[in-house]
Amino acid sequence: MKLPLRLAVFGVGVAGLGFLLVWGVADLPPFGHYAGPYGDIITKLVEPQRHMANAVTAVVFDYRGFDTMGEELILFSAASAVALLLREIRERDTVDVVDAIRSDAIRGLGVLVAAATLLLALYVVSHGFVSPGGGFQGGVVISAAFLFVFLTGEYHAYARLMPTKFAEPLESFGAGAYVALGLIAFGFGLAFLENFLPLGVTGRLRSGGSAALVNWASAFAVAGGFLLIYAEYLEGNMAARYRRSKP
């Protein structure tokens, strides 16, 4: 279909869709006057009932933990599918890869930044129930810390530090631990993913009960998934650039 004709058909369609969307959106409560009861009930109950200071992380890992498990399994399957699609082109013996970064200053700085980022990532994950943070954000920052090694240093250092065969168990461990924590609650006679540890004091790092363990499990799962995705893309690029034999 030629572009002008396609754009004309699209114009008709988007006019109709836009009218319907604007009509639907005009009936929402005006901006700034949130009306629903669900949010108010949760914010009233978060501190006394759950001993958690961050209401958003409490909703993610405790009140709606089953939802988050579904999202995490989406991440798991997406990372596995990327590995499935991109794994054929890989060369095991990229020993004669020429490292692009020759400056020692950049490498030293990269090591410092990577270590600092890893520390920041662990801080973000562990303070999930005390201040803004949590497993999902911290997991991405963990993967960023390992990425700094690749960006400022050698490909070999990155490949030795986080090869694919290490990212996969990390991701599987995270996803499996999430489900296992839900199943462990059965052993205590509670519902799936219900809290089975003492709740602790609000504002301390140990508050939250078993939702804190769920927090760490999802951090590992997210970090492993992203590292797997990066590894597939980057190793494939390295192999495509430096391969010695045609497929």
Partner: protein, 114 residues
């Protein structure tokens, strides 16, 4: 004025849709899909906002202070991280399609021809 954020969400969604339809490159198409996804985050957060309220973190505010809705924030938070993995998957599809067909133009691909 009070429906402006909702209209912005609709606008961003339609802009992303235009980008998908008129795209000449599969990678550009994937980025436009992510723009469409970001419009849903804007809509979710705009629904939960409350005037003169603060973030729903109770570390240093009294328990009686007005806060915005935490439920929609939790939906948007997990959604953002998962959307990146799905975009990576779409880009992997685009790479495979390039190896198969030899070009990244969706208009030249036999299977995508409409």
């Amino acid at each position: 004025m009070s429906v402006l954020p909702y209209l912005l969400a609709v606008f961003v969604f339609l802009v992303g849709l235009y980008g998908i339809v008129s795209s000449r490159d599969l990678i550009h198409l994937t980025v436009c899909v992510s723009v469409c996804q970001s419009s849903t985050y804007i809509l979710l957060l705009a629904i939960g906002y409350r005037e003169h309220a603060t973030a729903p973190v109770y570390g240093d505010i009294p328990a009686s202070r007005k806060v915005v809705d935490p439920v929609v924030q939790s939906l948007a938070l997990t959604d953002i991280v998962v959307a990146v993995a799905v975009s990576a998957l779409l880009l992997a599809f685009a790479l495979r399609a390039f190896e198969h067909e030899g070009s990244l133009d969706p208009r030249e691909m036999a299977e995508l021809k409409g």
